[in-house]
């Protein structure tokens, strides 16, 4: 009721102005006063410190309810994966071996702790599987990968090796099989 009286006498104090915008009800109509209320938080927060008695509609500052807001704040960086009881996890993820396997090549993971194996699809129905973040002898990896994949196939595997960019491209969709191979190797 105090708020209504405030409007009736055309004396809208800055704290009430913030409240009016949020109310937005049919019983309250203000002309021109609402537009200035958007920048009301600054005055609202200063009022909170001074505790101005002229404001008839009160408000309380609660630090306890900020725990609900803390849930909604995003983390500043990508979190490290937690330790599980057994590997692989239900979704088929497992951490890299420590120490790394004794092989002439190495495949790094990306910032999301996954292998950067992607599938590029073409309009005509063709597809290519790209493997990046390879280090060391890329030709040895190409040979081992073909040895792993070819028994399931009825044809020879078609791969291209890019030495400068350290990238292997396989013709066809082999994302699941390639990830399975890299996990078996222990990267």
């Amino acid at each position: 009721m105090a708020l209504r009286k405030c409007i009736y006498w055309n004396k809208v104090c800055p704290t009430c102005r913030v409240l009016l915008v949020s109310l937005n009800g049919p019983q309250i109509t203000i002309h021109g006063k609402v537009k200035n209320a958007r920048s009301g938080l600054q005055s609202y927060s200063t009022q909170a410190n001074e505790n101005n008695p002229s404001c008839e509609t009160g408000y309380t500052v609660s630090k306890e309810d900020f725990k609900w807001v803390k849930r909604l704040l995003p983390p500043s960086k990508i979190p490290d994966p937690p330790k599980h009881a057994e590997y692989p996890t239900p979704s088929g993820w497992s951490p890299p071996l420590d120490p790394p396997p004794d092989l002439p090549y190495f495949v790094r993971r990306n910032k999301y702790h996954e292998f950067s194996v992607t599938v590029e699809t073409k309009v005509g129905g063709g597809a290519f599987t790209h493997i990046t973040k390879i280090e060391g002898d890329i030709w040895a990896l190409n040979k081992d990968l073909a040895r792993f994949l070819e028994p399931e196939l009825k044809y020879d595997l078609a791969t291209t090796v890019h030495e400068v960019n350290q990238r292997i491209t396989v013709k066809g969709k082999f994302q699941d099989q390639v990830v399975k191979f890299l996990l078996l190797q222990g990267f």
């Binding site: 949020s22 927060s45 408000y59 309810d65």
Partner: protein, 282 residues
Amino acid sequence: MTESRFLNVVKKLPRVTLDNLKPNPGAVKRPANRRGHGNKGMYSQRPKRTMGQNLYNHFHERMPHYGFNRNEELKRQYLPLTLWNLQRLIDLGRINPDEPVDIAALANCRGLNFNTKDTNYYGIYLLEQGANIFQTRVNIEVQVANELAIATVEKQGGVITNTFFDRMSYLALTNPVKYFLKGDPIQKRLLPPEELVTYYTDPKVRGYLSDPAEVVKERQALADKYGYTLPDITKDSKFDMLMERKDPRQIFYGLSPGWIVNLADESVLKPDSDLYEEWAKM
């Protein structure tokens, strides 16, 4: 009327001038419409197109669309989220299963690329892929869910609710920090439109406006259909978390409409007047 009044009328009538003159009806013939085919050259000699077509637009551009994807931009769209993808995010520690999962949790972990530019996106569609490997107990809140997806979440002792968010509260959830920095009071969530009321009051799909007593029956009915034993939630250590629900007028957990969040001082400003509670219920 007297004669003088007649004369006054005649004086005021418009005179015959060049402005008023025009040819007799039928004296002048209008030229035929060229329909975009000019006066000279090849195009003027060509046959004219039929109704609805012209020289410049081809007929398939001119004619209306038909088929399954008609008016795709006007329809409500939902982002697909598979159970496999959700399990992977939990395995990597990007989603905390000890807290309820909603749009804000998925947006903060960058699990989904939420589309904020197109105006027809309204939330998440939970899909059944990965139902065979899903093993986590979660309290998840989505907009649309598959039947098998509902069954797999409940088989593990979890809870699922289908809720509606209007466009503005959806945008608030996709980036809560940006929303709080505006400095405005938290707005209230709108109720679903008329087409979706039947969906969200249905206990079979665990709608948030349905009767909770009937949801308990439907949970058991779905368990009988798929042949699994329903775990008892009341004895669970996570019971308090699993029973957390939002009010139909609430956007965020715990924060009611009308409050203002002050991120600098880490405090929440709550109004004392009773008008707010009345307004929030309206």
